[in-house]
Symmetry: C3
Subunit: 275 residues, 3 copies
Amino acid sequence: MRNFELTHLPKRTEKPRQSGLTMVMDKGLSIRECENMVDGSGEYIDIVKLGFGTSLVTPNLERKLAFFKECKIPVYFGGTLLEAYIVRGQFDDYLRLMDRYKMEYCEVSDGSITMPHQEKCHYIHRLSKRVTVISEVGSKEEGILIRPNKWIEMMQAELDAGVWKVIAEARESGTVGIYRPNGKAHVVLINKIVAKIPADKIIWETPQKSQQAYFIKYFGANVNLGNIATSDVIALETLRIGLRSDTFFQYLDKSLHNPNFIEVIDQEKSNTVKA
Amino acid sequence: MRNFELTHLPKRTEKPRQSGLTMVMDKGLSIRECENMVDGSGEYIDIVKLGFGTSLVTPNLERKLAFFKECKIPVYFGGTLLEAYIVRGQFDDYLRLMDRYKMEYCEVSDGSITMPHQEKCHYIHRLSKRVTVISEVGSKEEGILIRPNKWIEMMQAELDAGVWKVIAEARESGTVGIYRPNGKAHVVLINKIVAKIPADKIIWETPQKSQQAYFIKYFGANVNLGNIATSDVIALETLRIGLRSDTFFQYLDKSLHNPNFIEVIDQEKSNTVKA
Amino acid sequence: MRNFELTHLPKRTEKPRQSGLTMVMDKGLSIRECENMVDGSGEYIDIVKLGFGTSLVTPNLERKLAFFKECKIPVYFGGTLLEAYIVRGQFDDYLRLMDRYKMEYCEVSDGSITMPHQEKCHYIHRLSKRVTVISEVGSKEEGILIRPNKWIEMMQAELDAGVWKVIAEARESGTVGIYRPNGKAHVVLINKIVAKIPADKIIWETPQKSQQAYFIKYFGANVNLGNIATSDVIALETLRIGLRSDTFFQYLDKSLHNPNFIEVIDQEKSNTVKA
């Protein structure tokens, strides 16, 4: 929704979006805080992740899930929770948990545990028969470097196994995976990935504003971005459409302005003369 | 409002304030979050900026504006939005937008675009016939240095063109303009500015606590501060009046304490002896 | 409360907790924001500090205190407020203030002022006859180093004077006291402290996630942590019980996983063969 018209704004995709997704990270909002978030920015939120294992300790989990269902905003448990079940050899219990809460989306990741990639794809495959699966590639540990070819192989294999979108890991800090410890993007890595994997199949974790701006400049308004803080959704939307300084000239010709001013001043002068 | 009395607290100005202003940056609050903010700290909020282009994408913009009007808290669209109109040669459409939303304040900035300063002053002049104008000096780009004399010239010209207050730019990050990239203040620049421009005409953007403390130590409790996060207003008020560690001795004589203690202990002893 | 069962989770203490405490720092929430916080995470909040001097300027202070009383969550004024009374020679007025607001907890600190340690213990002693006292050791100033022996002596003397828990200072920034300016823990200092002072008598100020993880890894799920941001309580709880990447293997045997997977795959294969 746009309150007023302005030229040279990019067209944004609309819900249910396949690209231009904003995935928000909920680290433990109360029900009323969820309501506030949706009231203030719901139309720009495509999917909500209940971060890591928060679902286990959050009060009113059922009401929270029901609320997002009413709002037609998909919601899923963070991949760390699935990893906690896998590492305990309880994958089947996780399936029962998904059923119990009538989950329609899930995330498969290996950010905290190490497992053969074949195993990860096996879980993806089984889950994809039941729900929409998002997978996550990349380590949560700082300093772990994965070769670009390995990133691509893994992403492709996970798409083949049935995932809807694959997330490029950055944690909620934005300092690992596709970023250096200082939060700057690994440009070569990203270039190599998008040469092989369709961009609209990837969700880039971009918790920091500079990272959001980087991907919007690179891929445009309708890039998929994830791990967005619950209070940053509106600000992100302005970044996407070029109404914040970082992306201001994204959809404009830099030479656009000067001629107009001269005209304004001239017209002003002639008005003054007339008056 | 102070819940209880304490000596040696500075006198704070009262609404409608001309100095000691706190300008808050709203990056996309819902209506209920606005209510929470005003309920929790409204008496210390002098003016609210709807940051950059958020007004275009915020749901319930009219209700938000009406809410702030009810609370008698002035509100304005971030300067980036005006720049977006100017760069498109649509300044007159911006005037119509201001009318449509019955705005009583506006900001004129050139943080994202480059324009002749004469042009900026021209817009200020035209707008100042209709509404209260706040202007902003300084670039949003890191590493852009403007000579102190240029800062002063521009601020003076903008005041002459009709602005109520002029903002010294720092962005919401606090790393440009009057700050170095590490967030520390450009002391020499600030000194030169206040030697020429009346301090109560300037609003210093101080998103970080250390920056707020710096200006309070320098200019006292009733310095004008801007780009304050919506959740920091109460904490800022304690900084202003010396009830937070950073400014604790601002209004006190460091030698105040020790004599008192000896008295306390002595009295205690004599009580003990008596008892 | 746990929404579902999972093996290998540590047992958490229950309210009213003597260890495993989470102390939250309120920097100026509105009443409704307090309600949201308690609704979303109240069972994991053991005590709320109204930070530094916020109590003096917070609107609706009495309603806020009444709200926390209803929720059976102890609340206290930040130590900086008491220091402001002490430095003015008005300790007795502080006692009257405590009575007026029917406070049941209080904090005694010397983070902003310098006073003989004998004097601090004197205040602790007097207050401990009336309310539950928490004291704080460590300077709020960066670069001030206190020898480990001195930390221990002071903590012990304050416990002897009647405090319930002693807080190890870090400020809300987490860059002083038990931390270096970069936020990393002073490991040697911490080791020496816990060799002499019972761990459950100490509350570690851990505003940053890495600091929370550090103390949980060192002391386990039921370590006392303080200066937790109001929006971080649920996330902290997942850290405590090993459901976030940083502490994922805290309660697990790293060799736990691989055998299980082979079993899963084998079973899968045999199912396939059967089918």
